[in-house]
Symmetry: C2
């Protein structure tokens, strides 16, 4: 028995991602996504305006959460501590659905040049949102950009480990993302 029951929106995302993997993004229709998810087309359109938005919607809220966490970090936090606060905020919003989605989204991206481009733009969007939030804290632009790129790397590495790792009820994304950031900070000392 599954511990977690996805709602219609989550089922639509999983169905879309699996269909993109199986038959390609271009050849997948909204009707097919709705059918696979066991909902009607009009339910699809209550959640998303088109199949593209199935992918984009989560990305936008992720960027927003990262930026909010950075903006609301204590005023004496260093740039990397603020990035850590952004990762914590975004990680806290990631539940079983996101963990389930990880490897399946990765499979879809691996199978499609179009989804690779879209996935790359997602990273750019996350970096831009974090850079802007850091600059808003008074971090100089160059340092902000670099700290944001470290944040993107940490999020992606933490997410990958979390979603590929052993399943247990109390395993959340947050410590994986924090560990990944700490490893990057440690690595940065060895670069020169």
């Amino acid at each position: 028995m599954p511990r977690w029951e996805p709602g219609a929106r989550e089922r639509l995302v999983l169905a879309a991602v699996d269909l993109f993997t199986e038959q390609g993004y271009d050849d997948t229709t909204v009707a097919q996504i709705a059918e696979r998810a066991g909902v009607t087309r009009s339910t699809f359109f209550r959640h998303f305006s088109d199949k593209r938005e199935v992918l984009v919607a989560g990305q936008e809220s992720l960027s927003r959460l990262l930026a909010e966490g950075i903006t609301e970090a204590p005023s004496d936090a260093t740039p990397l501590e603020a990035v850590g606060a952004g990762l914590a905020r975004a990680s806290g919003a990631m539940g079983p659905h996101n963990r389930e989605l990880g490897p399946r989204l990765q499979a879809a991206v691996a199978a499609s040049a179009e989804l690779q481009e879209r996935d790359a733009l997602k990273s750019v969007g996350m970096a831009a949102a974090m850079t802007e939030a850091l600059v808003g804290r008074g971090v100089p632009e160059t340092a902000a950009h670099l700290a944001a790129e470290m944040g993107v790397l940490a999020f992606k590495r933490g997410y990958a480990r979390w979603s590929e790792g052993e399943r247990s009820d109390d395993d959340t994304l947050a410590p994986h993302a924090a560990d990944a950031l700490a490893e990057l900070v440690e690595a940065s000392a060895l670069l020169r």
Copy 2:
């Protein structure tokens, strides 16, 4: 009188990028690109297999040059010194055509969601090529990834300054890229 006369290949790239800006990537045909460049369609196809390749060809050689410079850096070079060698190698291959292209490509990218995705994937490809070359030198994967991201940032920032700056005959990309990397290294000390 222009100091630099572009050949057919360079004219095709500039014509394509300008047409993408003016009328969108999807609505631009090979015939239009050839006409704007003042060459025949068959000349286009001697240089590129389709309009997509006009954008991709330069990206692939850029990634290759970055990786070669890293691989061939002195064996006692630090990861960031090796990245600097990669930037120097790639910068050395960038001439007046690339400088001319910079702001026009940026305009095309700003005007098109599709080209934004493609441009984002270019950065991912550059980072992957540099990461692989660094790992090949024995740099641990986390440090390699971070150094590669710093290299991508440095290349993009140096390129932007070079192509937006004052035109002079002896101004090359290399010192701009090197300065941008040095600034990132300096900024990295202020992040914690």
